[in-house]
Amino acid sequence: MKSLFSILLIAFCMTLVSCSDKSQPNYQYFPNMYESIPYDTYGEYPIFPQEQSALTVDEGSISRGFTPYEYEDSSEGYEKAKEELKNEVPYTEENLAEGRQLYTIYCATCHGDKGDGKGYLVEREKILGVPSYDDQGRAITEGSVYHVMWHGINTMGSYASQMDNKELWLVDHYVMQLKDELEGKEPREFESESE
């Protein structure tokens, strides 16, 4: 009698424990209060191609604050951008600091905090062949840096999906400043923001 009771108790506890399955979401009081009627950003609905509501934007659609980039992804486009494209964002202390923040997030893992091509991933030999910004053969300019961030080059991918136009230009400022530092040049004077 006693042992039967304890066996039942253990069995009950075990079913309680086994019921909580971590790979399934919990149940809800009133699901129609929790789940949205319109399509969710990352939902799965039969109406979409491949059932995914996360889609690439239609060709030609432009988001707010976007300026199209006209240099094409080729070595001619690169040369052209390198020569004539100029940074349209003023070079102020604030902008440089903002560029530095973005640089630390997106670039420094490979290019290194100083821009010498010795980032953390390079040191761990995960990603190889990252050049220093003062590389003589490449002789980067404002335009070429922007071009490469926009289209990517060789194994480096495009960063246009992670930053918008202005943010790319901010990073551009910081990259050029790092290049000056590596080459031992005088720091460029800040412009006053007057538009």
Partner: protein, 441 residues
């Protein structure tokens, strides 16, 4: 005579098991033998310094070339067999010049690789190039042991789990054997006792059962009932409060993406992949082009990345899933255009009637991701760390001070509110962070 025989058999089986497992654990200790260079490698390369070569290779060549597989440029292992040394020196220093001079090998190579020009390296001496070539011609290590091991066990996942399973099985067998022995010994002893006329169990005099005594005591029953009701109320409250709370939710994702490797070991910033957390309501599931920023180059994990639980083969296979989804063809190093979505399972999900904005917390508030999402950099499999209940939100709003420094927007309101509440620093709650309409509308 029969019983001892059975016992002997048990012991024999037990010993056999033990011997077998010892043997299984002994396996796989063999060492790789590092062979020398292939016979085709010229003398100056074979005698060069491959350590210096490695340094040069990693900084200059590795962006486009890999040693044992094609990348942006062809694989370089065996290049001294394909070309002769003088040609190589000329090509590396300035390939474009060689092509222009009409060298047939150079022109053919240029055409074969879609006219992608190789950078010129005028800074390299012949000795440097010998060193690089020496590094390139180091034969690829063959990892035979591991592959045959996995094949023999017949399991793709987690090579380390086998010996644990055997040990557990062994323990179970031992337990079984012991309990059988105990039963047999007990039975034999009982029989001996019976044969010798000794009473085995002294029968106790039957008194009142304890539950009858309990039922007759009214005070005890009352106390018991009160406690029972309290326990039920407490259990019921706990049960109702966890409905709709997904803390600890850990779904299986279509690709085994390890935050431990990416954010932990490799220290990649959270916002590198979740870039929209800076600027929008959603933290965003990164699109696959962000993965390919690095995984164009990283097609396999290193030996050190593999753990007991997840083998290198397992992780490599997950990277292949990424290539399949993006339509990346490794052999031609280009996209086929055939893509298919990765159907990630969403973990953190607020109910539809609550509004939450990531950029407001990440960019303006400057709150670390880990504050809400927990130690993501240690999570092999992502799970929900916080309860994400309203009480949890409000607690944080009550305790967190607002960063007003260097933000002119807050200057006036901060001054007025700190006078009103008579405090130095304002919490989010005092700024209106508890108002219903801030999150529910």
């Amino acid at each position: 005579m029969e019983r001892p025989f059975i016992l002997k058999q048990f012991i024999l089986v037990f010993l056999l098991f033990f011997a077998f497992t010892m043997h299984a654990q002994d396996d796989g200790g063999g060492e790789d033998e590092e062979g020398g260079y292939g016979s085709y490698v010229p003398e100056e390369v074979a005698n060069a310094d491959e350590a210096k070569g490695k340094e040069l290779f990693n900084s200059l060549c590795a962006a486009c070339h890999k040693r044992y597989r094609d990348a942006t440029g062809p694989k370089l292992h065996g290049v001294t067999e394909r070309r002769d040394m003088d040609w190589l020196y000329k090509w590396i220093v300035n390939s474009q010049e060689l092509i222009k001079s009409g060298d047939s090998q150079a022109v053919q190579l240029y055409e074969e690789w879609n006219q992608v020009a190789m950078n010129a390296f005028p800074q390299l001496s012949n000795e440097d190039m010998d060193n690089i070539l020496a590094y390139v011609e180091v034969p690829q290590e063959v990892k035979k042991d591991k592959e045959t091991d996995v094949a023999a066990s017949g399991e793709g996942q987690g090579g380390g789990g086998i010996s644990t399973e055997i040990v557990l099985g062994l323990l179970a067998v031992v337990l079984l054997v012991l309990s059988v022995i105990l039963y047999l010994v007990n039975k034999t002893l009982n029989r001996f006792a019976e044969a010798n006329g000794i009473p085995v169990r002294a029968d106790k005099p039957k008194g009142k059962p304890i539950w009858v005594a309990f039922a007759e005591n009214q005070f005890l029953v009352l106390v018991a009932v009160v406690f029972l009701l309290l326990a039920v109320a407490w259990g019921g409250y706990g049960f109702l409060m966890q409905v709709g709370v997904d803390q600890g939710y850990e779904p299986i994702q279509p690709i085994h993406y390890s935050h431990r490797i990416h954010a932990g070991e490799n220290q990649i910033e959270c916002k590198y992949c979740h870039s929209s957390a800076r600027v929008s309501k959603h933290s965003g599931i990164p699109s696959l082009n962000v993965c390919m920023n690095c995984h164009k180059q990283i097609a396999e994990v290193s030996e050190e990345t593999a753990t007991e639980e997840y083998s290198k083969e397992f992780y490599d296979n997950e990277i292949q899933k990424l290539y399949e989804a993006t339509g990346w063809d490794e052999s031609s190093q280009s996209y086929t255009g055939e893509t298919k979505p990765v159907k990630w399972v969403r973990i953190h999900n607020l109910p539809d009637f609550a509004y939450f904005n990531h950029s407001q917390h990440v960019a303006v508030g400057g709150i670390e991701c880990q504050e809400c999402h927990g130690p993501v950099e240690e999570m092999e499999i992502m799970y929900q760390h916080s309860p994400l209940t309203m009480g949890w939100c409000i607690n944080c709003h009550r305790e967190t001070n607002i960063k007003v420094e260097g933000n002119a927007y807050y200057e006036k309101i901060h001054e007025e509110l700190s006078k009103k509440y008579d405090v130095e620093e304002l919490t989010a709650a005092e700024m209106g962070g508890l108002e219903c309409g801030k999150c529910h509308y």
